[in-house]
């Protein structure tokens, strides 16, 4: 190497002993090989295999077997599509399917609307919004179980604070047993769910809003577009990808998680709040029929796959 008389370069230090044994150096050398990408992927690949693929496959094969833990006399033979056939004539399954659709649609709609309003409001950077943001996001930190118990108490027909307020304000003649009436049980549960999970949308939408160039709004102002038009023509289209992702994730969460309904209504009264996830849970852990529960899970899985696919198609989001 030639050296420059005007050199402003400092000289390199030779390898020290530490450098020789430094594991980072070996990883560094390894990183220049084609194994590097696999090394990066190793932790997630191992976990995917261990806690996703294997359990999922195990659950799928259960759906083709007889597996009733409290009936060892029936054995654990393959029964092909027996469970799926039973599903066709299982009234509870169809009711659960319908209720799941109602539950998910209503909850996502409310959560999205409220989440969007909150995100738009918080995005204004008005004084105090930082504090409000933290406050509004708080429900999200309560575990489902705690939020469920808390609302069960607040909506309690004897001691509930909600009834008390509504009666005092004059909206209600007397205390109402929200979860005992099939016409209000689902609605009340949806409100609770929306209360608990709307910050999910707020968070994601707020992040999306920050990414919209303000020039667009200035241009729209000059063109004379009002707030509603701006929302419809700029904000929503620009948020399309975020909205699509958030909706899919939330739908997955709502379809798969029985916690809240389990605490609030256990599916009742009657079957009026019975949903698929709850039905699968009860089939597995109350009736010990793991085969049928597995089949229910497979159906949920397939429905979600179809939903995600159709939804992504419809919202024309380009994804890898």
């Amino acid at each position: 190497m030639t050296s420059n008389p005007q050199s402003i370069m400092a000289s390199s230090r030779p390898l020290s002993t530490w450098d020789r044994i430094n594991p980072a150096r070996y990883i560094g050398e390894l990183s220049e090989t084609r194994f590097w990408m696999y090394l990066l992927l190793l932790p997630s690949a191992l976990l995917i295999m261990g806690v996703v693929i294997y359990p999922t496959l195990y659950g799928f094969q259960l759906s083709f077997r007889e597996m009733r833990l409290n009936r060892p006399d029936l054995g654990t033979d393959w029964v092909l599509l027996k469970h799926y056939q039973r599903m066709l004539s299982d009234q509870i399954f169809w009711i659960s399917l319908r209720n799941t659709a109602v539950w998910v649609t209503a909850a996502v709609t409310i959560e999205f609307s409220v989440g969007l309003i909150a995100a738009l409001a918080l995005n204004r950077n008005l004084p105090g919004t930082k504090v409000l943001a933290v406050f509004i996001l708080l429900p999200f930190f309560l575990p489902n179980v705690v939020a469920g118990h808390m609302w069960a108490l607040m909506l309690d027909p004897r001691l509930g604070v909600i009834n008390d307020l509504l009666v005092k304000v004059g909206l209600l003649g007397g205390y109402k047993a929200w979860f005992a009436d099939p016409s209000t049980a689902m609605a009340a549960a949806i409100i609770v769910e929306a209360w608990h999970s709307f910050p999910f949308f707020t968070l994601l939408l707020l992040a999306g809003l920050k990414g919209i160039p303000t020039d667009l709004y200035k241009a729209a102002d000059i063109d004379g577009a009002g707030s509603i038009s701006q929302l419809r023509l700029i904000t929503l289209p620009m948020l399309k990808t975020v909205i699509a992702a958030a909706v899919i994730l939330r739908v997955i969460g709502l379809v798969n998680s029985p916690d809240l309904l389990l605490i609030l209504t256990s599916g009742g009264p009657g079957r009026s709040t019975q949903v698929l996830s709850l039905y699968a849970f009860q089939t597995a852990y109350k009736d010990f029929n793991f085969g049928y529960a597995g089949a229910l899970s497979v159906i949920m899985f397939i429905l979600l796959m179809m939903f995600a696919w159709v939804y992504v198609r419809l919202s024309k989001v380009n994804q890898d």
Binding site: L30, S31, M37, L40, G50, V51, T56, V161, D164, S257
Partner: protein, 248 residues
Amino acid sequence: MASRSLQSRFSLGRFVVFAALAFAVCFYGIPLLWLFMAGTRSEASLFSDAPFTIGSWAAFSQTWTNLTSYNNFQIGTWAANSAIYSVGGVLLSLVASIPGGYALALSEFPGRKLILIMTMIAMITPSTAVVLPIFLEMNLLGLNNTYAGLILASGFFPFGVYLAYVYFSTSLPKGVMDSARVDGCNRFELFTRIALPLARPIVALVAFFSFLAIWSNYFLAFVLLSDDKALQFTGGADGAGERFGGAE
């Protein structure tokens, strides 16, 4: 004229914003306020007094004493356990999802698509369906009822892989990466010294979401742990909620 209509529209917008915030505060704030207040009131007061009564300091300290004395400060153990599981799970989910998303975003290799699809599948799989197989698997590994078992089981956060993947494939400045190569980073250093510091927001976001997921995943924790002392907080709290045994 024009400025006037602009003015009125602005104030209308402002009104809508404040109305929305006021609604949010009422609908979302009141229950939380009530929850806090409940902690300051005695059992009797909860039964009889108006819902929004602030109790006494004595009642609060009584509640606190009840809390801490319940089954020999079990609540403290639960909270500490929750913290250990959550932190452990979050760390593991970061170790898995950040490098994973980085690799998926930055390179083309056989099996890449497959891993992306598996990640999607992982997001969709109903949790009730996998809890039992996971339990059996952990049992096989001898990890039932251990910190490690639950942390392993809750440490894969597919959404995190996806977030990291999207971030790294859209937001990494190519120039900076090239520059670091020229400056002498090997690919490992490229990841640790350049990409990771840049990805701080996404690391925080993944940590946040996976924390929430683990924190509220009561059922998995419940099935995987049996030792009462190892119970996670959310599990323990629910147990404490049911007062009577057997035939209630």
